[in-house]
């Protein structure tokens, strides 16, 4: 007992010393970002840091993001790279934890000397990564939904947002669902930033349509049973129930709502209807659920770049198709690498300028980054889950609507606090 105590105390002292030294180094680096970027070599491998939650409840989506991002890297390298310089993906597990993500990102920048950072799969985690990258003056292309990252408070010129945001997604789904299924709406919402932002998106889309909110029931994130919320929702008799949660929560909530027979009188809508959640939940449970997405592989029927991307993914992963969030990993990495080529240099400021000028169609039709907040202006798909007429086991949704890229569906630059 005594010996362990002594060794603990010893460990405490050395740990404190290490921490102090580390904090000093970080502070020093923080004050001299320009020095740092000059010191960064203009030769050698182009490194892209990729922090995503490989373990935890979004593990399935995160692993798919890595698979798709690797395709963008492979494609770039097979085309000869940039002036002979090849790209490399440095994947790190952020464990869906903002603190862990900040540490991993700092390591990627300081120790691994990455040129750019792409990644994240959580509204909160991406803000934490963004905090580190903006302080270090490193480009960060986020591939996960958030409204806050567009706002001037969190944003920096190094911040890009490849994913959709809740305002766009819930907006598109709301405009489709409220005009089609009815104007009395109830919400079942995960009680954190993602859920709240989605409800706000639905409500602002519903306002011009005269939509009435009957209740916004907030559940703790990660709940495994939703049955206790359902009798009340049933008694409110809404036309539409918006289930604003993500991943496993979505599977559980939809499963139990189906079990309670809610679907007979109420249309169930999810702002983001996940491919992986639908696969894990099964066809009967998700039957008829409507939701939004950035990408669904059947887009290949009409969009040639989608077909090209899917084919590459199928070839690399035994015939599997990319999921929605997976595809974002591809687009996020490819847009940074394309900007490097266009800029003719890996220098951060010039790559930022090249990304701002980018007009791209990588996998889902035309896209570009809006000037004021670097939000990728892109289409939003409205999809419906099906259990019949499936072409194969991957054919789980029908595309029922597409909202084309249009800045009017985004929050205005002034709303976000930008001088536009």
């Amino acid at each position: 007992m005594t010996s362990t105590r002594i060794s603990k105390r010893r460990g405490g002292i050395s740990r404190r010393e290490v921490l102090a030294a580390g904090a000093g180094g970080i502070a020093l680096a923080g004050f001299t970002p320009s020095l740092f970027s000059i010191a960064k070599a203009q030769t050698g491998v182009i490194k892209i840091g990729f922090p995503v939650p490989l373990t935890g409840p979004f593990g399935a989506e995160a692993n798919d993001q890595v698979k798709a991002a690797e395709i963008a890297i492979k494609e770039f390298n097979e085309a000869g790279g940039f002036q002979g310089r090849l790209a490399e993906l440095l994947v790190r597990d952020d464990k869906l934890n903002p603190g862990e993500a900040a540490t991993r990102t700092l390591e990627l920048i300081e120790k691994d000397k990455v040129n750019y950072v792409v990644g994240s799969l959580s509204a909160a985690v991406q803000l934490s990564i963004n905090n580190v990258t903006k302080e270090r003056g490193v480009i960060f292309n986020s591939i996960s939904q958030s409204d806050a990252i567009n706002e001037v408070k969190d944003w920096s010129k190094f911040t890009f947002h490849e994913a959709l945001n809740p305002h766009m997604t819930a907006g598109a789904v709301g405009r489709y669902a409220f005009s089609k299924f009815g104007k009395k709406v109830a919400y079942l919402t995960a009680d954190y930033a993602y859920g709240h932002e989605m409800v706000r998106g639905f409500e602002s889309a519903g306002k011009p349509l005269g939509v009435q909110t009957l209740a916004d029931i907030r559940h703790p994130i990660g709940a495994s049973d939703y049955s206790a919320f359902l009798p009340r929702i049933q008694s409110l008799r809404p036309d539409v129930l918006c289930i604003c949660n993500f991943g496993r929560d979505q599977v559980n909530a939809v499963k139990q709502a189906t079990e309670f027979g809610l679907k007979e009188k109420i249309k169930i809508v999810a702002p983001v209807l996940l491919y992986t959640a639908r696969v894990a939940g099964g066809p009967e449970i998700f039957e008829g659920v409507v939701g939004g997405t950035s990408y669904y592989w059947r887009l290949e029927d009409t969009v040639p770049t989608a077909k090209a991307f899917n084919d590459k993914f199928r070839a690399a992963h035994g015939g599997a198709v990319p999921s929605d969030y997976g595809a974002l990993g591809y687009a996020g990495v490819r847009s940074v690498l394309t900007a490097v080529k266009n800029a003719g240099t890996t220098d951060t400021d010039k790559v930022v300028a090249a990304m701002r000028a980018l007009k791209y169609d990588f996998y889902k039709g035309p896209q570009y980054y809006r000037d004021c907040d670097h939000q990728s202006v892109q289409s939003v798909l409205v999809i419906e889950s099906k259990s019949k007429d499936m072409k194969d086991k991957n054919d789980v949704f029908s595309i029922v609507g597409i909202e084309n890229p249009d800045e009017k569906n985004l929050r205005s630059c002034a709303d976000l606090g930008h001088k536009a």
Binding site: P57, G59, A60, N63, D191, I217, R218, H219, P220, G222, A223, S224, D225, S227, A228, F229, L230, P231, R232, Q234, S235, L236, R248, V251, N252, K255, Q256, E259, F260, G261, T276, V279, A280, G281, G282, P283, E284, I285
Partner: protein, 294 residues
């Protein structure tokens, strides 16, 4: 709150009882093992998860839910027998922390194994055909499957109670829990009894897993949150008490249902508040014997 009717309140109570049934199922296995063996089984949630996966897998092979309800507890219980015989038995007589740490690690081994075998994403499972849909119970529509669950739990609890209280074998188990030394003197092989109790406890955990599979997503991590809930129920009811597990399970279910109705944000916290309150008044739990841990 608008639209509050007597029907809604009653329906909410029934929802709570159904929710409580799952808690009861989980807690009786945990409580049985603790009461007889004084082992805090941290792998209980993992046994529950393995039960769900085994159930979905066997359902895919047989297409018969009822057969699965028999095979799964036997299968998971067999894993439990192996675990007791080769991993836990060497730890008897040692500090209570040792089996706790062992089962804690074992839980992670199970989770990783399932991830390797079935993937990270979880697998689909729907309510079996005969038990789908909602029926009118007088105060509103309620899912048939959850009614079945309440019934199944009642039958299981009754069966277990009869087994422990009314059979000769149950008498030996109870005696073994009170004083294993005397039992040995009387010429009874205590280690066999403990083996069987651990098998029954884990078998019930597996059965709760397959019974819960139609209710929630079947994923490798599904046992983690329920383990915490099962511990709360066991502690509230009193570690080692069957009647305590049943009372506390139903109580926790109803408390969760009621807070979900009036203060949905507090639904998760409410069960821990309940635990704190009960422990302040009765540190050994509602039906627990004082000083069992010592």
């Amino acid at each position: 709150m608008s639209g509050l009717t007597l029907e809604l309140l009653l329906l909410q109570v029934v929802t709570g009882v159904a929710l409580g049934s799952v808690f009861v199922l989980l807690a009786i296995g945990l409580s049985l093992i603790f009461g007889m063996l004084t082992i805090v089984n941290f792998a209980h949630g993992a046994f529950y998860m393995v039960g769900a996966y085994m159930g979905v897998f066997l359902y895919g092979l047989t297409g018969n839910f009822w057969i699965c309800l028999i095979l799964v507890p036997l299968g998971v219980g067999s894993i439990g027998l192996v675990v007791e015989r080769f991993l836990i038995r060497p730890l008897y007589g040692r500090n209570i922390d040792d089996p706790l740490l062992l089962t804690f690690g074992l839980g992670y081994v199970f989770i990783e194994t399932i991830r390797i075998l079935f993937g990270l994403n979880g697998i689909p499972f729907s309510t079996p055909a005969g038990l789908r849909g909602a029926v009118d119970i007088g105060v509103g529509y309620f899912p048939l499957y959850r009614l079945f669950l309440i019934g199944a739990t009642a039958v299981l609890v009754l069966g277990l109670w009869l087994f422990i209280e009314k059979t000769k074998f149950g008498l030996i188990i109870r005696a073994g829990a009170r004083d294993p030394e005397i039992l040995k003197v009387l010429g009874i092989d205590v280690s066999k009894i403990w083996l069987l109790v651990f098998g029954i406890g884990t078998g019930i955990a597996g059965l709760s897993g397959i019974l819960a599979a139609p209710l929630q997503a079947v994923t490798p991590e599904m046992g983690i949150p329920v383990l915490a809930e099962a511990f709360v129920v066991t502690v509230v009811g009193g570690m080692g008490s069957l009647i305590g597990a049943v009372t506390a399970g139903l109580m926790v279910g109803i408390v969760v249902a009621m807070t979900s109705l009036f203060m949905p944000e507090m639904a998760k916290v409410s069960i821990f508040l309940l635990m704190a309150l009960v422990l302040l008044v009765r540190p050994q739990g509602l039906f627990g014997r004082a000083g069992l841990m010592g």
